[in-house]
């Protein structure tokens, strides 16, 4: 179930439960994202809408939590999901 999400003009980011409300995972997400799309608090993660379009498609957030729990979609490419680098 998606708990935290946000859409910009080009990028949509979604974070599923239980990752979204996990304080440690939230901290990790806020730590890895180079353009501050995630904000961490005790209750979990919040998406910072104003920074969404700054996403550089680095894929670092995709490695937080179980596979597929964090998704980055390219709205300009029919919603294609960013694939984690192996």
């Amino acid at each position: 179930m998606t708990q935290a999400s946000g859409s910009g003009m080009f990028i949509r980011v979604e974070v599923d439960e239980p990752v979204a409300s996990d304080a440690a995972a939230a901290k990790q997400l806020a730590g890895v994202c180079p353009v501050d799309i995630f904000e961490a608090s005790e209750s979990g993660v919040t998406i910072v809408d104003k920074n969404l379009d700054e996403c550089i498609l680095c894929g670092l957030c995709l490695a937080v939590g179980p596979a597929g729990a964090v998704r980055v979609a390219k709205l300009y490419d029919a919603g294609a999901l960013l694939v984690a680098a192996v």
Binding site: D53, I56, L57
Partner: protein, 400 residues
């Protein structure tokens, strides 16, 4: 950044170039005092950054302190090229036998400084180079290796000068070159470099320009000369548009998206990368385009920064379309610029397909960028289309 003559004189004097005895004054009484302390006949020169002082009456000779007072009174009230003088320079008048030219500039093609010498001084060096090229000699020198005075000797000797004159002139050019390197200058020029009746040489008039980026490094020198950080020394004060451009650029540390210069045209420009701005600007004009602005983007600016720059350009009255053209980029991402520009156009209330005449940025992440442009129906070109051709297409669309 251009220096006044009295500042250039101080810089070159510090570097060991012989200069005339004198001083500067901001009142006529002060000028008379300086003339008295210099003794004998003096020359008074208006200190403005524009040329044409002689013609405008900004240079006068005085035989006595009273004459110097009267001359300073006149000069200090005289506007030249839209500028009031900063002060008046009072120098002792020299008994000149012959005039030469010595200068150092940066040769952007050779990527080296070049020393220029002519035995026809006191007139515009470009004019000499055009009409009497055999009277102009040049030599490049390294910015890394220690200065080699023999190079300047060869330079001077190539115009048939020998003996004591050769030694004196080449030493002065070596000092000029040292000042050029030491102070981060883009121009160091003595015109005329005068040979006096006693055979000695002296710089009678000098011009220096400092690289804008060297200001921080040279802050101690600038402080010594009394040049404040707020003194931009630009040809004109920045316009509101340019001030807002600088604010956009300063709003985020990532990349460059600003440095705008305002023009009157109808084609907004989002241009840059590795000297691309100048090339593209020239290409637009060559094809009959009327740019509304010059700007520089590069170094991977954030989406927000590019968006704000685009909005600023589109807010300018008379801008019909924008062109987005850059060199092949490696450290700027095509997709990030595409997002910023499209967002700026949409937030300004326009359709990107209509408003963007052409988007030609090849390079890093171009496939992703082209997907974005296709989605919004923007006409784009890849690296097979030269910048000049992209400029031509943009101009054609605005004309249509």
């Amino acid at each position: 950044m251009r220096f006044y003559e009295f500042e250039a004189k101080a810089l070159l004097g510090q570097a060991g170039v012989p200069v005339a005895k004198g001083g500067t004054a901001t009142t006529s009484d002060e000028a008379a005092r300086i003339a008295a302390s210099v003794g004998g006949e003096v020359v008074l020169k208006s200190q403005v950054l524009s040329g044409g002082r002689m013609k405008a009456g900004g240079v006068k000779f005085a035989a006595t302190p009273d004459e110097a007072r009267a001359a300073a009174e006149h000069i200090l009230k005289l506007e030249i090229g839209g500028q009031m003088p900063r002060c008046v320079l009072i120098d002792s008048k020299q008994p000149v036998k012959k005039e030469y030219y010595a200068g150092v500039i940066y040769d952007a093609v050779a990527k080296l400084p070049v020393a220029i010498f002519s035995d026809m001084g006191g007139i515009d060096i470009e004019e000499v180079a055009e009409k009497n090229p055999e009277h102009v000699a040049r030599v490049h020198f390294s910015t890394f290796q220690p200065l080699q005075e023999f190079k300047f000797k060869e330079l001077v000797a190539s115009l048939g000068i020998s003996g004591n004159e050769l030694n004196q002139i080449s030493r002065i050019i070596a000092r000029l070159a040292k000042a050029f390197l030491t102070y981060g200058l883009t121009l160091a020029e003595i015109n005329p470099l005068a040979q006096l009746e006693d055979g000695s040489f002296i710089a009678l008039d000098s011009h220096c320009d400092m690289e804008e980026e060297a200001r921080e490094q040279q802050s101690a020198v600038l402080d010594e000369l009394g040049i404040g950080r707020e003194e931009t020394r630009l040809a004109r004060p920045p316009t509101e548009f340019e001030i807002r451009g600088a604010e956009v650029d300063a709003s985020d540390h990532r990349g460059v998206a600003g440095r705008v210069v305002e023009f009157d045209g109808n084609l907004g420009c989002v241009i840059g990368a590795g000297g691309g701005s100048l090339t593209i600007f020239d290409a637009l004009r060559k094809h009959g385009g009327k740019p509304a602005n010059y700007c520089e983007i590069g170094g991977n600016p954030s989406v927000k920064k590019t968006c704000e720059l685009t909005k600023l350009i589109l807010s300018k009255p008379g801008v019909e379309k924008i062109c987005v053209i850059m060199n092949v980029v490696s450290n700027t991402r095509v997709d990030i610029v595409a997002r910023g520009v499209i967002k700026g156009v949409i937030e300004s209330g326009y359709d990107p397909a209509e408003k963007i005449a052409i988007f030609r940025i090849p390079g890093s992440w171009e496939e992703e960028g082209y997907k974005i442009l296709e989605k919004f129906g923007v006409d784009y070109a890849d690296r097979t289309v030269p910048m000049s051709e992209a400029a031509r297409r943009a101009v054609e669309k605005v004309k249509a």
